[in-house]
């Protein structure tokens, strides 16, 4: 007998969805997580930046994870279970202590989250010594294993997570030498660099590109280029922060349609994938948002799954793709299905590749349906209202951003 719902990933999105399904009376829900403990990424973020909206008070990541798990206490959460293959119609291959098995559900929700881009795909020149980590790896070493991997690291990138790395290092008694950001300003919101500079005494080098890594066994230095000048900074570690990508390996090797822009699955406004037995939510869809956003998306996807199991969500007979062109990086949902609920009131989320001031336009074939002047920054949400999208019409829908 298939379960009602299998949820892959017991982080904020997966647990929120499970809770919402339970409240809707759907209790045959199994949440699978490949880690030994549920909770997802917040488990290893020790700083107190979680839970304001969900629990009404600031919590550390582990406290937040614990609250989520407590809220989901009636849910069947199975850890140490790895999903190895997704097949049509809700058939899922797993491996656990029972070996490899096939399980099935009427609906499958994918909430596998995102990870940072490590060194190799960044194509950095130089040697390959040890002492090169991502923030996620650093946080787990510090918070879960009590390790001190280095003494004088530099941090590459200035997304919010870079400042999370600073706090993690401070917790371990390590002072970073610098934050190195190739852009002309930090990617995270403004006060972050001031906190780094003035409260923590860490220089934030903007317009600085990492040129090469030096060191035989352990990192010995990084070479950077700033305003045309090369400089070598002696250090013993490198934290590659940010440049999140969805943890979408399962989707890449499945029948589900993948979006080149987000790197995650293509979904419609009801969180449905190209195979309507599959749904997706959270940072798998869009690198990257906070745990709180993932939690809310998970809950919304849970509600949508409940509706579809009740028969209140019809299968679409037309799916209209929304296209984006450079300098837009991605938009999601990527698809509007012509079935209930209508997309009125829905906001599309988009991102840009680089800082752009210009006119954001929704076009249907060659006609501008909606437009607005915006100042968009990388890794910041760009909201596009869906009110103008008449999805019963076939045609080419495009969201574009023209500088000027």
């Amino acid at each position: 007998m298939p379960h009602d719902v299998i949820i892959v990933g017991a982080g904020p999105a997966g647990l929120a969805a499970a809770c919402r399904l339970h409240r809707s009376g759907i209790t045959d829900v199994v949440v699978l997580d490949r880690e030994q403990w549920p909770g997802g990424v917040p488990r290893h973020c020790g700083h107190r930046t979680f839970g304001i909206r969900e629990f009404g008070r600031p919590l550390t990541g582990p406290q937040y994870a614990e609250r989520m798990i407590r809220r989901a206490q009636s849910v069947d959460i199975r850890t140490g279970v790895s999903v190895t293959k997704l097949q049509p119609d809700g058939h899922v291959t797993i491996t656990s202590q029972q070996g490899v098995e096939q399980i099935a559900a009427r609906r499958v929700l994918l909430t596998t989250g995102a990870r940072e881009t490590p060194r190799a795909p960044r194509m950095v020149s130089g040697t390959r010594p040890s002492g090169v980590l991502t923030t996620g790896s650093l946080q787990q070493m510090v918070y879960l294993a009590g390790m001190r991997p280095f003494d004088r690291p530099v941090i590459i990138g200035s997304e919010l997570v870079a400042f999370s790395a600073l706090l993690t290092l401070r917790h371990a008694g390590i002072k970073a030498l610098a934050i190195i950001e190739p852009g002309s300003r930090i990617t995270a919101r403004r006060p972050c660099d001031l906190v780094a500079r003035w409260l923590l005494g860490i220089p934030v080098l903007t317009g600085a590109r990492l040129v090469a890594i030096h060191g035989a066994r352990q990192v010995e230095a990084v070479e950077i280029e700033q305003t045309g000048k090369r400089e070598t900074i002696a250090c013993d570690g490198i934290v590659f922060s940010g440049q999140f990508v969805p943890e979408a390996a399962l989707i890449q090797t499945s029948h589900l349609e993948l979006d080149r822009g987000t790197g995650g699955p293509v979904i419609d406004q009801c969180w449905r994938c190209s195979d309507p037995t599959y749904f997706a939510a959270g940072n798998l869809l869009h690198p990257i948002e906070t745990a709180g956003v993932a939690y809310r998306e998970g809950a919304a996807a849970g509600a949508s799954i409940a509706a579809s199991l009740r028969g209140a969500l019809r299968l679409p007979d037309r799916r209209v793709r929304i296209h984006v062109v450079s300098p837009m990086r991605y938009i999601y949902p990527q698809v509007i299905a012509n079935s209930a609920p209508p997309p009125n009131g829905l906001m599309f989320n988009a991102r840009v590749e680089r800082e752009v001031r210009g006119r954001l336009t929704v076009r249907f074939d060659d006609e501008a349906v909606w437009s607005r002047h915006i100042h968009a920054l990388p890794e910041r949400r760009v909201r596009v209202p869906a009110a103008g999208l008449a999805v019963t019409q076939e045609g080419h829908w495009e969201v574009r951003l023209d500088p000027g």
């Binding site: 020149s125 390790m147 991997p149 390996a249 890449q252």
Partner: protein
Amino acid sequence: MFDVAVIGGGVVGCAVAQRFAVGGATTVLLERGSDILSGASKGNSGLLHTGFDAPEGSLELRCMRSGYAEYLALRKELNLPLIETGALVVAWTEADLLKLPGIVATAHRNGISDVHQINARDLSVREPRLSKRALGAVVVPGEHVIDPWSSPLAYAERAHAHGAQIRRQCEVTGGTFTGDRWELETTDQLVIARVVINCAGNYADLVEGINRQPSFAIRPRKGQLVVFDKAAHDLCTAIILPVPTAKSKGVLLARTAYGNLLIGPTAEEQEARNIATTDEAALRALIEFGRSVIPDLEGCFVTAAFAGLRPATQFKDYQIHAQPHRRWITVAGIRSTGLTASLGIAQYVAGLYVENFAPLGDAVAETQTAVPNLAEVNPRPYQQVGHGEIVCHCELVTAGEIEAALTRPLPARDLGGLRRRTRCMMGRCQGFYCQWRVMQLASPYFAENPVRPHAT
């Protein structure tokens, strides 16, 4: 006193040590690095070559042919994989196309009789994702993919099981020949052996200097490689080779035993013997080349980018000689074909030894010598009932595999050695999810503990 001291724990040194240990000689393998495969053998493309394009009549061809045959004979006993991909030498230009019949003819003269040419249409049926620019190809059915890390490990463990000593962090710094034996000074203790075999890879000319003025000079040739994630694995079946130029065999695309797709290597001459750096422009050029061969590589995720050094010399052929009066055998200039040829080289070296020094017999193995399987074509522990905790999710490596690698007869003693024995942290996340857990399991076993506890 040992019968034989083998200097260098690369794939050639491991295979040679194994041959002598199996032959009943008391053998010691001396490796300067903290683990075997610390030098040239660390980075290669993991192919088992037929020798179809090797220089006719060369020692290299002879060793490749016999090494290939012995690998096939030995691999089941050692639990080593064989991924029977075949290779295609693809013509991308009219000039390339004109060279294909010559490639077939050379292969036939080299004794590889099943090599044949196909046209563009047949090529497109075999490899539908290959760029439609391809004009034709030579099929080499016998070219295969193997596991470049487990093979030398299996040879070293086989040597160990037959009584050989494997000494790591033991660099040979000098030596004295006393007329009937060598006294080798090392960074560890003095090693006395009746015969020395120099398999020192990128350091072979320096080690040779202990014995005599070397007759060759090592000219390290750097090869950079890019590895794509599992989703790219199925984009081609066969190893995709270019038509070689006078200078280089060129850049190939091949599946790996671990379920990835690899592109490389570059060929860049350099001075340094110990450092192979990656270079952003070269890596991007490799990826660009890959996309020109298989357009669907666009958007595929890169999991690794690395560089290796091949120990080339000024000579095209291998430099393998015995100096009977000095009780010394030189094994040098084993460029890019060492993984294939190593067992054949070991046979050849054993022949030189028997001819010049002493007979070899048969030793009895003390322990079983099968290595854990890392290849996707064979069952892996994560699929078994009761497999325990999966630590590395990208490569599906269990805690049991990591513990085994740390406690086997030739245990991993650093993170690189552990990665090569288990694949842990070798996947797309490069340790984002598992590094902390790997370090937690492994650091008690490491001599140089790379992580210390923090205060809070």
